[in-house]
């Protein structure tokens, strides 16, 4: 019954089908493509987390906090308990980020606009400041993360981890799609449009934002954990510094808020673009990224996804 109801939603069936195809393609591609796709999908998950907030009209400039928390949770879990199981790791990453998100949410839910962005930034930089200066937490070096095991089995290839990321991605994307189309999910846009009206309709805006914030933190934490597992390394400068937050926001601008699939497409595109750009023009990479960001803000405010929306077969209502 539920499955039937879900498969009626075109976005959901498309998402499930594309991830399934991706899972099969994963069996046939060389390792570097598999790696790049894993990094991309993991980042995409974090960007999906940002999307939840963005639809509420909030831009977090400090989501590296949760990305880093997820990644460090995985690394520290291994360091202090030796656990390397993929599900435990994922659960710990997600739970850590969600717990911190829940606590900080009490403060952040009262902030909007630039203040929200700045307070998120401040929180993430607090974590950065702690990590970078404490030897027990690896300081600037961070830690290595050993290969992931699955229920005690140590796989030979990266494919099982890839599959895990795919599954997490599917669950998250479908979950978010169900959420966005539910009444609670439409409240995201409602809150962005008019907080006063939401309050007068009898719903607490602060609570709505808090829920979304925790959701967003949990998704991003899981993303950080998966990223650390795929990469095998955590360090503060590439996981917690403000530039990482900027990069995540960049990908969400690139992807656009149009669909739950957009973050994954945007992030994977970004990953491969970067791989090639680094080889071809290592000194102009940031120039390309920065220029693209400006270009999208100026000319494509609803991101890459809006190009897909404009395809003739997808003529939907579009107000801009």
């Amino acid at each position: 019954m539920i499955i039937k109801a879900l498969s009626a939603d075109r976005t959901i069936s498309w998402v499930v089908a594309s991830f399934a195809i991706l899972a099969i393609v994963g069996l046939m591609v060389p390792n570097w493509v598999l790696n790049g796709t894993m990094f991309g999908l993991a980042r995409g998950l974090a960007v999906l987390g940002l999307l939840v907030l963005w639809r509420t009209g909030l831009v977090s400039f400090g989501h590296a906090l949760y990305f880093g928390l997820g990644a460090y949770a995985v690394a520290l879990l291994e360091k202090y308990t030796g656990v390397s199981d993929v599900f435990v790791r994922l659960a710990v990453a997600l739970a850590t980020a969600a717990a911190v998100g829940f606590m900080l949410g009490f403060v952040l839910r009262n902030h909007r606009g630039i203040f929200f962005a700045m307070l998120s930034l401040a929180f993430s930089m607090v974590l950065y400041g702690v990590l970078i200066k404490s030897e027990a937490l690896g300081s600037t070096d961070g830690f290595s993360v050993s290969q992931t095991t699955i229920l005690g089995w140590q796989p030979e290839t990266k494919y099982p981890l890839f599959l895990t990321i795919i599954l997490t991605g599917v669950v998250a994307a479908v979950g978010m799609q169900i959420y966005f189309r539910s009444a609670l999910g439409h409240l995201t846009t409602a809150v962005r449009d008019n907080e006063i009206r939401v309050e007068y309709l009898g719903y607490s805006v602060a609570q709505a934002i808090h829920i979304k914030y925790v959701l967003s933190a949990a998704l991003t934490g899981a993303a950080g954990g998966l990223f650390a597992m795929a990469l095998g390394q955590v360090d503060p400068d590439s996981m917690v510094n403000w530039t990482v937050s900027g990069e995540l926001v960049f990908i969400s601008i690139l992807s656009g808020p149009g669909s739950v699939a957009a973050p994954f497409i945007g992030a994977v595109a970004f990953e491969f673009l970067r791989t090639f750009a680094f080889e071809l023009a290592p000194h102009a990479w940031q120039l390309i990224v920065g220029g693209t960001l400006l270009g999208i803000i100026l000319f494509l405010p609803r991101g890459l996804w809006s190009l897909i929306e404009r395809l003739p077969m997808r003529q939907e209502r579009d107000r801009e």
Partner: protein, 437 residues
Amino acid sequence: MKKGIFRSGALTLALGAFIGAPIVTTSAFAEETFKVAVVSFLTGPAAGPFGEPGRHGAELLIDAINDGTMPAPYDSVGFGGVQIEGIFVDESGGNAKQVAEYRNLIEKQNVDAVIGYISSGSCMAIAPVAEELQTLTIMSVCGTPRLFEGNDWQYTFRTQAHAVADSVAAALYIRDQLGDVKSYTGINQNYAWGQDSWKFFDIAMQKLTPGSSGSDSPQFPKIFAGQYGTEISTLLLEDADLVHSSFWDGDIEAFVLQASVRGFFDKKRFISVAGASAVDNLGKRFPEGTVVGTRGEYGILVREQEGELNEWFIDTYRERYGVYPLESSYQYAQTVLALKAAMDKAAAESGGTPNEDQIIAAMKGLEFQSLAGNVSLALGNGHQAVHPIGYGITAWDEESNSPKLVDIRIYPTHCILPPVNQMSEAWLEAAMPGADC
């Protein structure tokens, strides 16, 4: 040779259209050349003093060996008869980026071996991945002893002695040359290399100069911090006679400039474990009377040293790049020499082009002649190099209008490194048994 499950079949689904083209091109794998990635800092504060000279050192030797123009014993053409194609890669951007880049080198660019790495952070991060991807990886510069102590890597080697050697040699030099140090403090970077350097220096000082006392609040600024005004104040306020620093890269240059204006070097003796590059780069601005090491028989320490290989290296390097080779030039060159020695050996044993396993077998415990001394991979189960380390005091040579080191002392390996199968820290704490120097 590579482990990807790989079929150049119909990859037109989803991602296929996007990344399909490059997959096909990378499948054409040339066997004739041996592809070696040389990783060093090509951007950022470490590029000028370490990355670029290191890259040049490797580049020079790879070209010379490919052409067979090096002096004996490296005068044969190629590496075990094979030509090496070097590709040069940037080390900056943090450990996570390095790991990603490393995977990319092996899995996308089909590199056969990776050499280089300057930062201890990079080395610690790369070694487990090298193991996972089963690729020969030889570290050139990084110094943390943690790399092989407690880890049993099969695919990772290091042709540079680790921080314990630098620290013990520093303490020995202080005892032998300065004598009267009563107290000391330090300023080191806040990561593996800086933390280890200070820790081992502190223990070695306690054992070798029992009359001296170390500070309990040494400074650990962030690497590449660039501004040290407040740190310099704290150091000046401390009573210590001597300040120890393992700063390298642009940080040592910035620190020396900022400190010398404030008369720091008139008030404190300063020992720089790895700052020799700054002596050349800063010229007259580098204070005279500073104790400086090069972490081996490299750079300014051996600039006047005779020997065919050393003289050839200095001359060809100056001819090609217009400057003297710095310590990292020697360190990277040393790694290339190790690879040459191992591949020659493996080729001789196998009677043909050696494969990766044969090279690794030949590499284990290898003893080879470096540019200005001998190196042997004696520690870490045959993976970690030992070699002598020297210090000297900076002076200005009016005649040649260039800096030089005087009162040079070079300490042999048994004085500065633990014997096989002993952990460095335990050996140091036990007052370095067996090192009667």
